[in-house]
């Protein structure tokens, strides 16, 4: 149930971003990134693996939807890494309210703002590595700045409903109970 509602809400957010937000005539460049806000909401309420999968899916959807001005996979990569890191920091270092605790709204908005800067720079970095001619210091600075501002202002439109739905549905189940993550691995 929780997964289905999340899937539905993230899908709606992706479509709204692609068809409504990207349609608006922003003369200054970037618009708010609602998809990032949605991914942050999911990443703060789930484990790293599910967060990475969610980021991957949402980023891939944005890459696949028109306009196709950048290589497919670019946003997928950035969003996947961002979601994984947010979730990892949330469960290990108490980012956005601490492990197991309820995620506070203001903390979530703050995480969105920080994530927006990180994703903006990461996206620019991938473009720079891939030789995108649009990546210049001034363009990155203005786009990341404006994008972060708008995402922080309008991101809660996607962030808060998803956060609310996930917290509400989690109370019936045992999704917020997080066992200790195993130390093993790499």
């Amino acid at each position: 149930m929780r997964a289905l509602v999340t899937l539905f809400l993230v899908t709606v957010t992706v479509l709204v971003q692609a068809t409504v937000v990207n349609r608006l005539p922003f003369e200054w460049g970037p618009g708010p990134d609602l998809v990032l806000a949605a991914v942050v909401a999911v990443a703060l309420t789930t484990g790293p693996a599910a967060a990475a999968a969610c980021g991957f899916a949402a980023g891939l959807a944005m890459d696949v939807l028109p306009p196709a001005e950048h290589p497919m996979g670019r946003y997928t990569l950035v969003l996947c890494v961002a979601a994984y890191l947010i979730s990892l920091l949330h469960s290990n270092a108490g980012l956005g309210g601490g492990s197991g605790a309820r995620v506070s709204r203001w903390a979530a908005v703050g995480v969105t703002a920080v994530a927006s800067v990180g994703v903006g720079l990461g996206y620019a970095l991938v473009g720079m590595i891939m030789g995108d001619a649009h990546i210049t210091v001034s363009a990155v600075a203005s786009n990341v700045g404006i994008g972060t501002l708008l995402t922080t202002l309008f991101g809660p439109l996607a962030l808060l409903p998803i956060l609310w739905a996930r917290t509400l549905l989690a109370e019936d189940e045992y999704a917020t109970i997080q066992g200790p993550t195993s130390v093993g691995g790499w």
Binding site: V20, P25, G47, P71, R74, L77, Y84, N92, G185
Partner: protein
């Protein structure tokens, strides 16, 4: 400090690898099956959603436009923008270094002959990262009126077409790119064919190869080729010189005649180019070609 289960890490690594593979696939020239399919799938979701939004967006957009500017001021703004663009183009062309003015002169001469309306631009890159594609980047983009699928030429002839147009840069797929295919017409006889970058299967090693559809058409070394022109001038306007026939290959059993073409443009020294933002009102036919050199003079 950052603990995570190994399963979760493996999944993360797999996802990152998948994203990287996608980027590599999509960055390569040509249409990749996976990414094309994905984009087609994306459009299936996008088009109805966008159409739905469009129903509401049109009145909203009109309202927004109406708020922003009245009808008269819109016309005035358009007029001033045109004047401004013209003045800026003039200013830009006067700023260009002296050693480029000759190229620009040639370019303007050629565009004047054909009646093409061009935006001058400088080719700022020529080599791609992996060297798979023959592309050049221009220092002008949509802010100068350049759109995708516009013809790019210089003072000597056809350079290529715009495949991607950003605000201030645009990417040209050169006519020598293996994926480039240009409709071509022989000077004089008006026989049509297509020019592919590089060599075609069974053809000679070449920068460009002409495939003539008419097996009976007379063609010999020294014949010149111009663009056939596409529907509504995109991606190619008619009458731009492409090159000269260098070598005709007669292959028994072939469905088309193959000829090696020497490009009219020196692609190694690409500098000033023009993007045709508006095609000629009527096909210039062969008038853009320079006067044919006197064969007696060569001997």
């Amino acid at each position: 400090m950052l603990r995570d289960s190994s399963r979760s890490r493996v999944l993360f690594a797999v996802l990152v690898a998948a994203a990287l593979v996608l980027m590599v696939l999509d960055s390569r020239p040509g249409n990749d099956a996976v990414t094309s399919l994905a984009r087609a799938g994306g459009e299936i979701a996008f088009v109805p959603a966008s159409a739905g939004v469009g129903v509401f967006a049109e009145p909203a957009g009109r309202f927004y436009d109406g708020l922003r500017k009245s009808h008269e001021s819109a016309a005035r703004i358009a007029e001033l923008e045109t004047a401004n663009a013209e003045l800026r183009a003039e200013l830009d062309s006067t700023r260009i270094d002296e050693h480029r003015s000759e190229q620009l002169d040639e370019l303007l001469h050629l565009s004047g002959l054909g009646g093409y309306e061009i935006v001058p631009a400088q080719s700022v890159t020529r080599t791609t990262a992996h060297g798979y594609a023959h592309t050049a980047t221009l220092d002008a983009g949509t802010e100068s009126g350049i759109r995708k699928d516009m013809t790019v030429l210089n003072g000597s002839g056809l350079v290529g077409r715009i495949v991607e147009a950003g605000p201030r840069t645009s990417t040209v797929k050169l006519a020598t790119d293996v994926n480039s295919s240009v409709g071509a017409r022989l000077e004089g006889t008006r026989k049509i064919g297509s020019i592919t970058g590089g060599s075609v299967l069974g053809g000679p090693e070449a920068d460009m190869t002409l495939e003539l559809f008419d097996m009976e058409a007379p063609i010999e070394k020294g014949d010149r080729v111009v663009t056939l022109g596409s529907h509504e001038g995109a991606p190619f306007v008619p009458g731009v010189p492409i090159g000269t026939v260098d070598d005709v290959q007669v292959a028994p059993g072939a469905l088309s005649r193959i000829a090696r073409i020497t490009p009219a443009v020196d692609f190694a020294a690409l500098d000033m180019v023009g993007v045709v933002v508006k095609g000629p009102a009527e096909d210039p036919r062969d008038s853009v070609l320079p006067p044919k050199p006197d064969p007696k003079g060569d001997q």
